[in-house]
């Protein structure tokens, strides 16, 4: 776990929590520099391993904007499908992890099973369980496979998930842990500029799929769920609702998939003319900003994962909660270490990464800090 959390506690009540991040110095932004634009995609896919499509889509769109091209319509629809597949498997996994931290382990087991089912679908779609290789600048890396009834497959996975989610949220023991826990007020959320399901769980109605439409979202219909309670329950239910919307979007995109090419060529980037792109990844708004150099290579790439703004307010959500609820609160945020720490330059010659790292880099929760698990030497008196 590349993050340090320092709790100040009275009895079991958290009165302050300071997080110290940026322990990993992957040099991601520096590694983009000097690359051919198309060679940045594999790097973007690895910014946060659970957000392959979110980050590579933001990167490709920024390149396309800089070069002044639009992708073919068919590619725009396939991009929607891939981004929603990514949202779906992550929301299912997060729901399970939240259930697990309430002690509802059976819900977690089933969500892992459903996640696996979705990852296998990802593999059928792109050849990769984490959807790598799905996108290229100017379009998509592959067409939908022949003979796969994707809407039927995701419908079935959703029914499976809804049954598990229903059992969990109707269980009073689970609900008791979710309701009122880890409350982030709308005012604090707004002050911090929070993004994604953390924002939508705190009453902030934001989603760049609707507000700054990209790919084919302007041609598709979907709802943006918002809950104003600001607690773990709100962030959990936003995910359940969004999983439903993802399945609706996938069905619409498959049904409405236009004929035509999958890519257009990416012209050379103009020198020193910046361009940017916003994508609503599963965790929230992702921004990529690119600038080409005089040689047509990447001169500067700046990446923002929503975790950059969402980590800090976790400290506020924890105030007055009890220590055993920290894992639950943290899971309901589930911010990315990798996506947050990424940008940074080289940490020194001995640590300078030569290749992208971390094959499956989900942000793991801190280990349980229930007092009975605390090291004896650290035990409070």
């Amino acid at each position: 776990m590349p993050g340090h959390f320092r709790f100040s506690v009275v009895g079991e009540t958290i009165i302050d929590m300071k997080s110290r991040l940026y322990f990993t110095h992957k040099g991601t932004e520096k590694l983009f520099e000097g690359r051919e634009p198309a060679a940045g995609v594999e790097l973007a896919e690895r910014i946060s391993g659970d957000t392959t499509i979110g980050h590579s889509l933001a990167f490709c769109q920024a390149l396309e904007s800089a070069a002044g091209i639009r992708t073919p319509e068919r590619a725009a629809y396939v991009r929607v499908i891939l981004l929603e597949m990514e949202r779906l498997y992550n929301h299912v996994a997060d729901f399970g992890a939240i259930a697990n931290d309430t002690g509802y382990a059976v819900g977690h087991s089933h969500c892992l099973r459903i996640r696996e089912r979705l990852l296998r679908l990802n593999k059928r779609l792109t050849g990769n369980r984490l959807l790598r290789g799905g996108l290229v600048p100017g379009g998509v890396g592959m067409d939908l496979p022949v003979g796969l009834d994707l809407p039927a497959e995701v419908d079935a996975a959703l029914r499976d998930f809804e049954e598990i989610a229903g059992l969990a949220v109707e269980n009073t023991l689970v609900l008791d842990r979710l309701e009122g826990t880890g409350r982030l007020t709308t005012a604090t959320a707004r002050d911090h500029g929070v993004l994604g399901y953390v924002a939508r769980g705190s009453g902030i109605d934001t989603d760049v799929r609707r507000d700054h439409p990209f790919a084919a979202y302007a041609r598709l219909s979907f709802a943006v769920p918002v809950y104003d309670w600001g607690d773990v329950k709100a962030r959990t239910l936003v995910r359940v609702d969004e999983a439903r919307e993802s399945v609706k979007l996938i069905r619409q995109a498959v049904d409405g998939l236009p004929a035509g090419p999958l890519t257009v060529p990416l012209p050379a980037l103009p020198a020193f003319a910046p361009a940017f792109s916003l994508v609503e990844g599963w965790r929230g708004t992702i921004v990529h900003w690119v600038m080409g150099g005089p040689d047509g290579r990447l001169y500067r790439v700046k990446v923002m994962d929503p975790s950059f703004l969402n980590w800090r307010p976790l400290s506020y959500a924890l105030l007055k909660n009890i220590v055993p609820d920290f894992p639950l609160c943290n899971k309901s945020f589930n911010q990315s270490y990798s996506g947050n720490d990424l940008s940074r330059g080289l940490g020194g010659p001995e640590t300078a990464p030569q290749t992208p790292q971390s094959p499956d880099h989900q942000s793991p929760p801190p280990r349980s800090i229930h007092p009975r698990h605390t090291e004896p030497s650290r035990a409070p008196r």
């Binding site: 320092r6 302050d16 507000d211 650290r378």
Partner: protein
């Protein structure tokens, strides 16, 4: 986008000559250059008149080709689909911005990151502690500068303590590295 002509007019009327080179790019983006000292005025105008808030900042080291750093500010409204992309040219010697930290909290995070990686100071920042800097980096090492050369780093013994919370019955639980 319908509001861009209005915004363009407001920039010319209220912020010239500190905001210049205003042009529409790709239909819904208004690009401009802004004097580093006029950034707060620009942010205030966007918030007050256009529901526009800062969503992103990016610095770039343009010293090799134009002898200055650039800091780019991206503003967007909450409901309409347009952007303002403002570029501040920051002199290579004593590079300084006027901080937006007390106006908009997320700016404080971007500004700390930009100092750590480029050595561009945010003037008026109330809390300019390191954010992304590795504790072992020398104080003059800014890794995203084009002339940054990685070298051997080691612990300089400089501590970066956590704020201590005191009082009867308060104890700490440290978790992680």
């Amino acid at each position: 986008m319908t509001r861009l002509p209005q915004l363009s007019g407001a920039l010319a009327e209220e912020l010239a000559p500190h905001v210049a080179d205003v042009r529409v790019v790709r239909g819904n983006e208004l690009h401009c250059s802004v004097h580093p000292a006029a950034i707060p005025a620009l942010a205030r105008l966007l918030r007050a008149g256009f529901d526009g808030e800062l969503i992103f900042m990016a610095a770039a080291d343009r010293r090799p080709d134009r002898g200055a750093f650039e800091v780019h500010y991206l503003f967007a409204p909450s409901r309409e689909d347009w952007f303002l992309h403002a570029t501040a040219h920051v002199p290579a010697e004593a590079p300084t911005l006027t901080s937006l930290a007390t106006f908009h909290y997320p700016a404080s995070r971007f500004e700390r990151e930009i100092y750590d990686l480029f050595g561009i100071t945010a003037d008026g920042h109330p809390d300019p502690r390191p954010l992304v800097r590795h504790g072992f980096w020398p104080s003059d090492y800014f890794p995203l500068r084009k002339d940054a050369v990685p070298r051997e780093f080691s612990d300089d013994g400089h501590a970066f303590p956590f704020t201590e919370v005191g009082g009867a019955g308060v104890y700490e639980i440290p978790v992680g590295p």
